[in-house]
Symmetry: C2
Subunit: 125 residues, 2 copies
Amino acid sequence: MDYPHIARQTSRVLSSYLTYQAVRVVVGQLSQTDPPLAIWLNGFSATGKIQDGEQYLRELLQERQELALRVMTLREHLAETILDVLPEMVRADIQQANIQQRKHHLERITQVASSEAATWPELES
Amino acid sequence: MDYPHIARQTSRVLSSYLTYQAVRVVVGQLSQTDPPLAIWLNGFSATGKIQDGEQYLRELLQERQELALRVMTLREHLAETILDVLPEMVRADIQQANIQQRKHHLERITQVASSEAATWPELES
């Protein structure tokens, strides 16, 4: 298994996701201070191009430099603030989700087995 | 800014992404050992439903229990192995990307300014 490659890909996805979260925060702030600009940024960001955070920022820099710089500062701040808690949080989430998935699956196949067992007397009578 | 909320959302996205990466690893392994099953799992996973990792696993548990259990074990293993390097990696990525974005933007506006300046002599002559 190519762990370094998976780590690099995951890092890229996470960078783009933090860019997306930074845009959402800026839209939220603008909706208080400058609603028309909030609507503009929301429209600019809603075309799916935000999937690639770097391409998105290149285009935003050309359209509205001050907004792009604000998003860039904010994503760096988010990275400083929330990343350290993530490893423990994600590990706990996945462990808990795996336990839940196994539990529900066991309940489901036990119900199927018992409802099948319940039909035996009828078949035998 | 609601950091705990952003951290929770990011954790959920990361859990789903590790589920997707685990599926890709299992497809790769199966393509060596059981190509028809690799094709089946690839088809099952290609319908967009893997965007929600938990819903995807619930459906896979009903279709092919042994594959779902394998994906679940693997995503837990990936979480143990790669998560700890991510905070530093993502922070470095974002810092580096921000520097590049600012640099390219500066080059672009400097070029525009100098090409505008180059037209002055003509205007003055």
